[in-house]
Symmetry: D2
Subunit: 165 residues, 4 copies
């Protein structure tokens, strides 16, 4: 049994939670972009929230973990075991796609990387809730989504938009 | 902005998640019992899961944090700010009482301390899912709930039942 | 393709919605009791709400349909096809046990017939929401549940408690 | 207390459920389009599913009721009383935006009329589930959404796509 002994400060309200959203399968290019976003978020002390599965979700959590960050996976199924190995705190919702709404509520900002229809539903809910939503390599043109060209730009935009909010 | 920099190992599957369930208001006696359960769970490296609000939920998270443990709050509302100050990782579900099912799915075992009807629904769902459910100072006599007389006995029973499972 | 052409008045607020809750397997005796409750509810123009599956859920819907009533099934899965054949309006939630909370919210009163742990979670949520909860052949002694000895007594108690509410 | 006495056939699986999705506020033009869709759906014996609130949701239910159809409202809140007056069967989910996923699961096909971000999340989930999604006056260009120019064309497209499915 592993242990999670050393988390420091606990204020769940003030820590920034960044959702990195995208499909459960990812090309090597997309995977690397999501790793970089996760890493940069963790370096800033942010919690990285994802849907907990593979592809972009795995990549973002992997990048965050490699930088010593905390990763939260909000799973569609009822078993924590479906989390990718980079998820540190797993929540087994068993409410399937309805968990997308939980991701949108839990995050302070969302960065989409590429993405399929599940991602689009999270983008929509993030916008509905008035949260910053940033798109890297996302194909849809959705008013309200801030398009960016790199992981660093995604993080910088998130910081700027969170300050304004 | 606070940071969560030093969590160690990340295996969300093998770490034990203990739900401590109970009402959002607690007498000093009940509060102390829940603090002790949270503390003992954290000493064993377990993640302490609660509904994130006051009373027993706050007490268990407080005990866990004081022992350096990780605390996960699965909130009924849509805002992480409703978490008690001892919740380190907050999930804003906004699905109200339906989040009780997420607590039952996410936990490996559940310990009820006293409790009202919301607690009873979590006890029932834990039993439905075949998880160990332990009751300390719970008034209902529900077949399947293992009654105990102290926080230590609660933890020892949880260990014994998880080994068997 | 079948049709649902003749429902009359539409006021979803004033019509009484009765949840009949119980296990997905039922002995012939329990099944008959649930049929009778569904029938009596439908005779009074009530909508009969269930979890949409077999056993007590099927029996209550069957009784209601035989008396010309409207039956609403709030299913755990994502496919309306899992509804029993007596469900007239099916809702495919795909949120599994979390749908128990929807049943409790949607109903004005709940009648449990026998029942297992899933039923107990619905009893608890009904009580949490302050709704009349009536138990016929339920084994647990839960303060707040009104025990009755027959389908007719269950319906009469529901009427009395709804008038008071 | 009103009654719902005369629904005819009960097969929840074979009846077509059409979700009409759109914003809770609607211009007179959009409102009329949604009324027409609801009316045409009801004439074909379909159940009209909506989120149960105002605007497009109200309009579609109104059109369906005027044609004698059955209307199902899947509400975000925990009280059936928030349903618009044209909802015949109301489901009080209390899971807020997460109920959008239930609408997508419950419907065989979805027609969006105009719409805001909540609608977009339902479009995305409908597409994710492989269901026909038709857009009338929707501003986003989402691959997979079938654009149409009139209520009649929307219904005809739904019929064609459901036959193929």
């Amino acid at each position: 049994m592993s242990t999670l002994k050393e988390p420091t400060s606990a204020n769940a309200e003030k820590t920034i939670y960044l959702a990195v959203i995208g499909a459960s399968k990812a090309s090597p290019e997309i995977y690397e972009l999501a790793v970089a976003i996760g890493r940069e978020a963790a370096r800033r002390g942010w919690v990285v929230v994802t849907g907990g599965l593979g592809g972009v979700m795995e990549a973002a959590a992997r990048g965050a973990r490699e930088a010593g960050g905390l990763t939260l996976g909000i799973l569609p199924g009822g078993d924590r075991g479906e989390a990718n190995p980079y998820i540190q705190v797993a929540v087994a919702t068993h409410i399937r796609h309805a968990r997308n709404s939980i991701i949108a509520h839990t995050a302070d900002a969302l960065i989409a990387v590429d993405g399929e229809y599940g991602t689009l539903s999270e983008i929509a809910l993030g916008l509905k809730l008035g949260k910053p939503v940033i798109g890297l390599k996302t194909e849809w043109k959705i008013p309200g989504v801030v398009p960016v060209n790199s992981p660093n730009e995604a993080i910088e935009k998130a910081i700027a938009l969170l300050k304004r909010g």
